[in-house]
């Protein structure tokens, strides 16, 4: 095991897949000469050349549209959208085209397509550059949505995504690039559509993913000091959504808190809570709680921004509520 950052893990996955498969190529804004807005593709342009690391105009619809077309010819494009906020400019191509083609043309069209993008708040970028609209994209059948919370999963999931024949939106978190953790040195992949038990515990189930895995883990550490053992389930993929680990955990703990960075209404927590109520109603000992972003456009001011984002204390408070009513 090597301890590397999320950035390095994602970069390694891309590099290794490009070395293995000449059909894999990258396109997006500033991916080449610049080396990637988040420096994920630093050094790629010099090594793989301009044909395989393609700088694009600022044209999100053209980036995703061209990636779809190239995927239809049998290539494995990895399109990069600088932030998920700009994915709205390519929304039509993501949800109306990529998510529909295989089904709508009777199985004829195959799209081995990955769209890498970056979401999340907490960097004082204001309302248009700080969103976590993951649930919006997870709403559409035909699209797969993956959002890793650890470097090891990021590498394994991205490698699976690049090798997959389905269109996949791969959402990274802007404040996790520096997160460092152990990553296997040997070749491996992580299955898409499989949640995992991130931390075992018997008292309460926390269901979360991406950046909120970090927040939830910090909360679990503090709760452990008080003798409360939280079991953390990392969803890893939002579609397909694998509820099995969460259900198994909930049947053991009978109490659940769902933690997401996006807004509460119509969110990931809403979906997970509904599924727990539907599929494990007999096991419920306390109302399920959701921790989520306050229902406001994210403000610039640092204090206000942090007030709007879910904090460690919010998770602890919710856990105590489900434990003690």
């Amino acid at each position: 095991m090597a301890r590397i950052t999320m950035r390095e893990a994602i970069s390694q996955a891309l590099w290794e897949e490009m070395e293995t498969d000449p059909n894999v190529f990258i396109l997006g804004e500033e991916v080449g000469v610049w080396g990637g807005t988040y420096a994920v593709t630093k050094g790629f342009y010099d090594h793989f050349g301009p044909e395989r690391v393609r700088d694009t105009p600022i044209s999100e619809a053209a980036i995703v549209g061209a990636a779809i077309g190239a995927a239809l010819t049998g290539l494995r494009p990895v399109a990069e959208l600088m932030t998920i906020n700009f994915a709205f400019s390519a929304m039509d191509h993501i949800v109306n085209e990529a998510a529909k083609f295989h089904y709508m043309f009777g199985g004829q069209f195959v799209l081995p397509l990955v769209i890498r993008t970056v979401g999340g708040g907490g960097r004082q970028l204001g309302a248009t550059h700080s969103q976590t609209p993951d649930a919006v994209f997870a709403h559409f059948p035909g699209l797969k949505v993956v959002a890793p919370g650890t470097p090891a999963d990021a590498k394994g999931l991205l490698k699976s995504a690049i090798r997959s024949n389905d269109p996949i939106l791969f959402i990274e978190h802007a404040t996790l690039y520096q997160a460092r953790d152990e990553v296997p040195e040997e070749e491996y992949t992580t299955p898409i559509g499989k949640a995992a038990v991130h931390r075992p515990g018997d008292d309460v189930t926390i269901v979360t993913y991406s950046k909120m895995l970090e927040i939830s883990t910090k909360a679990a550490d503090k709760l452990a000091q008080e003798g409360i053992q939280a079991e953390i389930i990392d969803l890893r993929s939002l579609r397909p959504l694998d509820m099995e680990p969460a259900l198994n955990s909930f049947k053991k703990t009978n109490r659940a808190v769902i933690v997401e960075e996006g807004w509460r209404s119509y969110g990931v927590g809403s979906e997970v809570a509904a599924r727990l109520y539907e599929e494990a109603f007999d096991y419920i000992d306390a109302p399920i709680r959701r921790v989520a972003q306050k229902e406001v456009p994210l403000p610039y001011n640092r204090t206000l921004e942090q007030m709007a984002l879910p904090q460690v204390e919010d998770v602890i408070k919710a856990v105590k509520e489900v434990l003690h009513g």
Partner: protein, 319 residues
């Protein structure tokens, strides 16, 4: 071209016309659901254009796609079966009128969001450029599509990357019910290519031979690596935008004027004037089409509905 090839193009145009007329009747009988955009009046554009492609060349178009499908070699019976939503339809009954495709015929759809397929066409061409394929992508779209951002992003990208794509604007005078002059800053759509330094031309879209010659010339240039080209084919749709269009936006005389300039009539007179065919040979083709379409309707009507399990098939390739 050999005589047979000339006659085949006549056959294709007549087949499209007849399929569309029959589709219109089936729609009125309630056998076709959703929207139905007929290609009647525009047959020469697609027929001339696609006659100029090589088998490896890709075709992608908008929602007015039945004629294009037929020109790409999809049997009329599969087009009609798709319109009836049957399992034997070209998209297995899951696409409908606006979403026909046949990858084996290099026909890449059938796209119903105006302009959205233009960036995808850039991607098809990028895929071929990347793989060193000797292939041109032919992308057809309406005049209305030239007003949406996708058009501009796609044209810009095609020029920046020197992509092997032929942009073909079928200017049929109306985006739905809005006349070109009321929606576009320039009435000649080809002018928009100038801003992207893309060579362009305008051709009489009612004249099959004119379209074919323009296509042969431009496809060859693109294949030689000269980059994208835009052809504007000036044409007209005789029927409404879709079924049930009250056509308040145009006068009957205008339609009549264009009908006098019918693409099938123009081509028929061309064949006779150049002594390529005599009238009786063309009559035979029309009789053959009549039989083929009758059989195609029978095939479509007697074909099975998709099985219930088809509902959940093909959401994903894996899992």
């Amino acid at each position: 071209m050999e005589k047979e090839a000339y006659l085949d193009l006549y056959y294709q145009m007549v087949l499209i016309r007849r399929v569309e007329e029959v589709a219109s009747q089936l729609y009125q009988q309630g056998k076709i659901g959703g929207f139905l955009h007929l290609y009647i009046g525009q047959e020469a554009v697609s027929t001339g254009l696609i006659s100029a492609r090589k088998p490896q060349d890709r075709v992608i178009t908008a929602y007015r796609d039945h004629g294009v499908a037929i020109n790409c070699g999809i049997p009329a019976k599969e087009v009609l079966a798709e319109l009836l939503g049957k399992a034997t339809g070209v998209s297995k009954g899951k696409g409908g009128s606006m979403h026909m495709a046949d990858v084996s015929k290099n026909f890449w759809g059938g796209h119903a969001v105006v302009g959205a397929h233009l960036p995808i066409a850039s991607g098809l061409a990028l895929g071929d450029l990347y793989q060193g394929n000797d292939t041109v992508t032919i992308c057809m779209f309406g005049d209305g599509a030239s007003n949406i951002g996708y058009f501009h992003e796609a044209l810009n990208l095609s020029k920046v990357w020197n992509l092997p794509v032929l942009w073909v604007c079928e200017n049929n005078q109306y985006g739905m019910g809005t006349a070109v002059e009321r929606a576009s800053a320039v009435s000649e759509i080809r002018q928009k290519a100038l801003g992207y330094d893309i060579p362009n031309s305008r051709v009489d879209g009612m004249d099959l031979i004119a379209v074919r010659e323009a296509a042969l010339d431009t496809i060859q240039k693109i294949r030689q690596g000269e980059g994208p080209y835009l052809v504007e084919a000036v044409t007209y749709r005789y029927r409404g935008h879709s079924m049930g269009d009250p056509e308040r936006y145009r006068k009957a005389e205008e339609v009549k004027k264009w009908e006098e300039n019918d693409p099938i009539g123009i081509y028929m007179r061309f064949l006779i004037a150049h002594k390529i065919a005599v009238e009786s040979e063309l009559d035979e083709i029309e009789a053959r089409v009549e039989t083929e379409v009758e059989e195609a309707v029978q095939f479509a009507e007697s074909s099975p509905e998709p099985a219930p399990q088809a509902l959940f098939e093909h959401v994903y390739v894996e899992g």
